[in-house]
């Protein structure tokens, strides 16, 4: 199958006309979020690890950017710095041109772990960020119910997080983050704890929400399919030290559909990404198909399965 695809694949850099037009449109918009020469160094005793080395990148308004890279390339560190949960060693983050310090409600975040407050019911969870913005309780409740309607979970308003499935919890977490009316939504491998089917649903879901409201999304993932399926642009980081390797404009038109995942453009982009990631050659590569397992035969010789 691999050979069959290889010679048929177009160049991933050639954008179809509609995508090119859209890309040009996006690039005319201002940067909402700018990463200005951000460097992060971890010092442990005498070990200095450069996790991020002078990262420079700008995210346009209402753009959906995915960040990919092999494990250890600092993509989680990057998103935590964007959220303000960690400080950059040097460089800064600009929101609408102004430098930010610490976490704030202008940058919402959805974590990989389930982080709904377990002592609050679903509605009160969504109300949390609204109330932190200084809105009184009744109004917050009204807004929260609207958000729950939007994600289709209004009948679970009084349920507690532990009574919901993982996918539902992450949906509520997205609603909770969006309800605090952030400018940017940061997602740190938010769907990676979900099973494959739920993940696909959640991806469509996220794009549906993103179309309807004025939100800019930065999505960290290690799943290349997910990155290509979701993103306008993909920021590829390379490890040791973490640097921007390439910024890929995804040659897929919107709205995205699951069928596009078998299109030539998709496969070409994926092949290129896989090649890039493999070229970094870290020990814990994300696709380990090359690993040869040396296992002695532990069954009877006569007991053949293939």
């Amino acid at each position: 199958m691999a050979d069959h695809v290889e010679h048929a694949l177009p160049d991933y850099r050639i954008l179809p006309p509609d995508v090119a037009a859209r890309m040009a449109q996006i690039k005319q918009r201002d940067y909402v979020l700018e990463i200005d020469r951000v460097t992060k160094v971890f010092t442990q005793k005498k070990n200095r690890t450069v996790a991020l080395d002078a990262i420079e990148f700008g995210v346009h308004r209402r753009e959906l950017v995915c960040v990919v890279g092999p494990s250890g390339c600092g993509k989680s560190t990057l998103v935590r710095i964007l959220a303000g949960l960690e400080d950059a060693t040097s460089g800064q983050i600009l929101m609408n041109g102004k430098p930010v310090r610490g976490p704030g409600s202008d940058r919402g975040m959805v974590f990989q772990k389930y982080t709904l407050f377990p002592w609050l019911d679903v509605c009160r969870n969504v109300m949390f960020g609204i109330e932190m913005g200084g809105v009184d309780r009744l109004e917050a409740q009204r807004q929260a119910m609207q958000w729950l309607q939007m994600i289709g979970l209004e009948q679970f308003a009084t349920a507690f997080p532990h009574q919901l499935s993982g996918g539902m919890q992450q949906r509520v977490a997205i609603a909770r983050a969006l309800a605090a009316s952030p400018r940017v939504l940061l997602m740190d491998e938010s769907f990676s704890a979900l099973d494959a089917q739920t993940r696909t649903k959640m991806q469509n879901y996220l794009m549906e929400i993103w179309r309807k409201i004025d939100i800019t999304i930065v999505f960290i993932t290690h799943d290349l399919d997910e990155a290509i399926y979701l993103a306008d642009r993909i920021l590829v980081l390379k490890p040791n030290p973490g640097r921007v390797e390439e910024v890929i404009e995804v040659p897929l038109s919107r709205p995205r559909r699951a069928e596009q995942m078998t299109s030539d453009e998709f496969l070409a982009t994926k092949a290129h990404l896989e090649g890039l990631i493999r070229s970094f050659g870290t020990s814990d590569d994300m696709d380990e198909e090359d690993v040869k397992i040396d296992l002695p035969l532990l069954t009877l010789v006569t007991d053949q399965v293939e």
Partner: protein
């Protein structure tokens, strides 16, 4: 039967009925053992209760003596052809039978006759409970907020915890003389001992509980715009509340262990005074009844608090 065997395996399963059966057995087996030792003469009974001194001069009715000594006395009398002393096998005076303890227990609640300096078990015990209550309340008023601050504010932790750790290792009784010198001889120094014994542990235990709050929840709330006091009151405290409650239950038990020391300093009082007095008179049935009362009240409060906790914090229980 299969369920019964399964409940003995490592991490085995039990059903509701078996759990109840084991629960009842847990109470019944020690009681049965005690009854066997008390009522079956062949089980232990190392002494003899004299019913008739016979010809031996130094014996009196109602005396207890070791069986060996009794047999020697019998032999002596027989050799001298005098009437042999009579007696029945009995346990030492410090091990009264369940029946005697039960009647002492019932007596304590039904009679108002004065027994010693403290008038009855119930009065002595009420006094003890007052001491515990105030000691624990005063300790908690200081210890809970301080513990939470130690667990959540690094500067407070650095400032407070070293000295708390120092005081924690000083045994509370060491403060006895000091407490009496400062606070007089009545209830105040006793309450102080309970406070000293509980407070320092309380600060460290609660600080640790606060530190164990899932940090992802704190980070999530920060990205939602929570900080300062609102972060503390809307996230940290609700998040640790079930564990805090459990800590308080354990610490309340802790406070009880300091009661004995507390009640012996200054003017002895309360249940400890009652027990020591009764032991001096060799009224061991009263001693056992008092001990049973402490145990029952302790277990009872803990069970009630446990049930209340389960009702209050359903989210925690079902979260595992």
């Amino acid at each position: 039967m299969q369920g019964f065997l399964a409940s003995w395996r490592l991490y085995g399963r039990t059903d509701r009925m078996l759990r109840n059966v084991f629960g009842i057995l847990a109470v019944l087996l020690p009681l049965l053992l005690w009854s066997a030792v008390s009522y079956l003469p062949f089980v232990w009974h190392p002494q003899v209760l004299i019913t008739d001194p016979g010809g031996e001069e130094y014996l009196e009715t109602g005396m207890r003596m070791n069986r060996v000594d009794f047999l020697r006395a019998v032999k002596e009398m027989q050799d001298q052809h005098q009437p042999a002393p009579q007696g029945i096998p009995t346990n030492p005076v410090y091990l009264p039978s369940p029946g005697e303890v039960l009647s002492a227990f019932v007596h304590a609640f039904t009679s108002s006759a004065p027994v010693g300096a403290e008038h009855s078990i119930t009065q002595a015990f009420a006094h003890s409970i007052r001491i515990i209550f105030w000691g624990f309340v005063i300790s908690s008023v200081m210890g809970v907020p301080l513990g939470i601050m130690c667990g959540s504010i690094p500067a407070v932790a650095r400032l407070v915890e070293p000295s708390v750790d120092f005081f924690r290792y000083l045994p509370a009784p060491a403060f006895g003389a000091l407490a009496v010198a400062i606070l007089g001889i009545y209830d105040a120094p006793k309450i102080a001992i309970i406070v000293i014994g509980t407070l320092f542990q309380q600060i460290l235990v609660i600080a640790n509980t606060t530190r164990k709050l899932d940090f992802a929840l704190v980070e999530a709330s920060r990205t939602l715009g929570a900080k300062g006091l609102r972060l503390l009151f809307r996230v940290v405290i609700p998040g640790i509340l079930p564990d805090l409650y459990r800590d308080q239950r354990i610490l309340l038990g802790w406070a009880w262990t300091y009661l004995i020391v507390a009640e012996l300093i200054g003017t002895s009082s309360g249940i400890t005074w009652f027990i020591t007095q009764q032991a001096r008179y060799q009224h061991f049935d009263n001693v056992f009844a008092a001990m049973a009362l402490i145990g029952i009240v302790g277990l009872g409060t803990d069970m009630v608090l446990g049930v209340i906790g389960g009702k209050l914090f359903t989210w925690k229980r079902e979260n595992g």
